[in-house]
Amino acid sequence: MARSDSAAEDREVLDAEDVQRALTRIAHEVLERNKGAQSVVLLGIPTRGVPLAERLAERISEVEGSQVPFGSLDITMFRDDLRLRPARGLGRTELPAGGIDDAVVVLVDDVLFSGRSIRAALDALGELGRPRSVQLAVLVDRGHRQFPIRADYVGKNLPTSTRETVRVLVAEVDGQDAVLIGGSEPRSIETDGETSS
């Protein structure tokens, strides 16, 4: 991790078990709200939304006994801050075989901050098909929205100051599950969602 020196000051807000419990609760909420898992498709936003979407799909499948399709949705090309920073590599967009037409798409991301990532995700989704409805699941909602966007499923509401950093660690990417809140490192709110490196 590039920021290992400051990691020592990071405070753990959710540990691995808390993350597990939050995901299990979200899985049940998705089922409750949609009255089952029929036509639900989970799409994770790279990097850390993707393993979270996969885990949610697993949990929903366990409860319902049927497979729930999941995939990933890269938003890099649709970001509104693309021209504020040097061009960067792309993540993967991988749709389940059935596509997303007429599906209930649940977008999955690690942190909800300004809402700009989600706006980009909605644009990206529009190029791929026409879902019946779109819902949003996030592990952490840290506030400071800049768009009229809210999450349907929230693992943890985390009131923060804009000077703080929130980092979500996911076992598939970082080797462990945790949510960390860091010291007042000055950062731009434009870099929403990119919580690490």
């Binding site: 693309l82 504020l84 040097p86 061009a87 792309l90 967009t93 644009d123 190029e127 791929l128």
Partner: protein, 313 residues
Amino acid sequence: MTRHLLSAADLSFGDATLILDTADELARLSDRPVKKLPTLRGRTVVNLFFEDSTRTRISFEAAAKRLSADVINFSAKGSSVSKGESLKDTALTLEAMGADAVVIRHGASGAPHTLAHSGWIGGSIVNAGDGTHEHPTQALLDAFTMRKHLTTLEGRKVVVVGDVLHSRVARSNVLLLATLGADVTLVAPPTLLPVGIDSWPCAYSYDLDSSLAGADAVMMLRVQQERMNAAFFPSVREYSRRYGLDGDRMARLPDHSIVMHPGPMNRGLEITAEVADSERAVIVEQVTNGVSVRMAVLYLLLGGSDSALSGAE
């Protein structure tokens, strides 16, 4: 940071890998209902072609349009260039029109370099083939095609056969493949190998049959009759017997190996129709991959506030 793509030698291993990985993602776009991205909306890409070209120009045009850029096609025929306008005045005109990128093909080696370093133009310059010098996006699409079929280029044996002397494709390929870790062997009659070939990062041979043993990919080059101003080989028939790829030679290649050609092909000269139409030939696929690779290059040069390519040491 390097804002231009002038030579395959400008690309570090990281740059080349980033372009190929980005092209990998962009290639998936062709399976989607909407084959377009909004990324370069409002940017202008000029295709400045002083030499005839079909596939490269169309490929760059398709790539720019799929990224929503505005494309202006400029070909020397029927333009003020045929009235004697200089490269400088043409460049100043394009600059005045607000070109964010200029894709240039020119008969003179070094023309893109001149354009990039002259101060006539502020945008990014992409070399689409200059004289007998370089054609970096062709090398990138070849590497992309090989990587797809051979999973990696590290340690793979690539044989490039034919008119190396006049081939910008061969030069760019040798430079890029060396960066990516492939072992390249050039095969040509002595008259069609350039002076100073010993300093290139590759091996060379005058004998095709011995070089083909264990080849993972064979790239046949076009015999460029339009650039041949002297007798480089005794007869077409002798050339195709010694250096052409026919069914017998192809049958002796390893099962997994692929046959490539940058096009346009001289069927019956450097490659027989049997080989060109065989399952091993990935020549049509190269054209498809060309669009993805050129999209990746345009995106990485123009997509952000600055280029994503760091440039070689």
